[in-house]
Symmetry: C2
Subunit: 187 residues, 2 copies
Amino acid sequence: MKRITLGSQSPRRRELLALLDYDFTIEVREIEEIFPDDLEANEVAEYLAKLKASAFSDIDENQIIITADTVVLLDDEILGKPKDKAEAKRMLTSLSNRSHVVVSGVCIKSKYKTSSFSSKTKVFFKELKNSEIDYYINTYKPFDKAGSYGIQEWIGAIGITKIEGSYFNVVGLPIHQLNDQLLTGSF
Amino acid sequence: MKRITLGSQSPRRRELLALLDYDFTIEVREIEEIFPDDLEANEVAEYLAKLKASAFSDIDENQIIITADTVVLLDDEILGKPKDKAEAKRMLTSLSNRSHVVVSGVCIKSKYKTSSFSSKTKVFFKELKNSEIDYYINTYKPFDKAGSYGIQEWIGAIGITKIEGSYFNVVGLPIHQLNDQLLTGSF
């Protein structure tokens, strides 16, 4: 297999890719994460994954780049990373006592081929108490997390009653599909 | 809150309980894990969790004991821990390309009250190749795992396409329900 480079600074994605038992290195290239206004909300993650891959234009023939983006959708509204405590509280309050959708988009790129896909998981939160939301925000500071939560943290442990789809996709990378693509995609 | 004792030697349950941010200690008491022949398969995990709790008869009034058991059900057949590679291979082959159910049972016990419950999650495996099953068994040696797999290991990463229910329940402890019980159960 070719040398894999993960183009993500997320420690969670690093852990997920490591589950697949491939050797890989990390290289992050900064891009401005902007997308067209008229893009469907559920296509944004895949669009941004492709945008991140576009920053790697100098790939050698033995290299594969993997980039990804994860978006939290409440109906058709995208919940991004909260800029402060108040916004995190608004987001978590809006996720309470209902389901939402997490979309992770992935782009795999070699010198010869670029391919992308996305995966959806439905996530159900119980009714969250104000005190639970406050404790979580103050203790875990989820300002680097889309939708203001990490499923693998305290709020996910006490608050998420069930999911429909892939758990790893919610954490940030749909790894079973990524593995299928790496094995069969002829990169 | 009272002092919590987790009556389990599973490192996975230890990590899951730690997600709830309570202090706790570990104390394992050996019991023989036997259950009545006529017990419904989906009641076995909760029965064994209660049996494990019954070994703690000398609880003081400031203590809470938590015990648990996890069972993998294929239709109505219980898949236990495999005794060797051949049995692990038979189990994983039987789980390939279909869904099965994971049931975790929990018992919470104080000096004044004993309460138990169980939770089910449906798990879907893709069609596993022989080479994938062999690699997993040889590399990860899943002989301590009911059903011969850990969802948080390589085989879960490459093979599980989706779940319906709680991910943490498949790992070994339905922690959102456990937390609800600890907070509202008057132990």
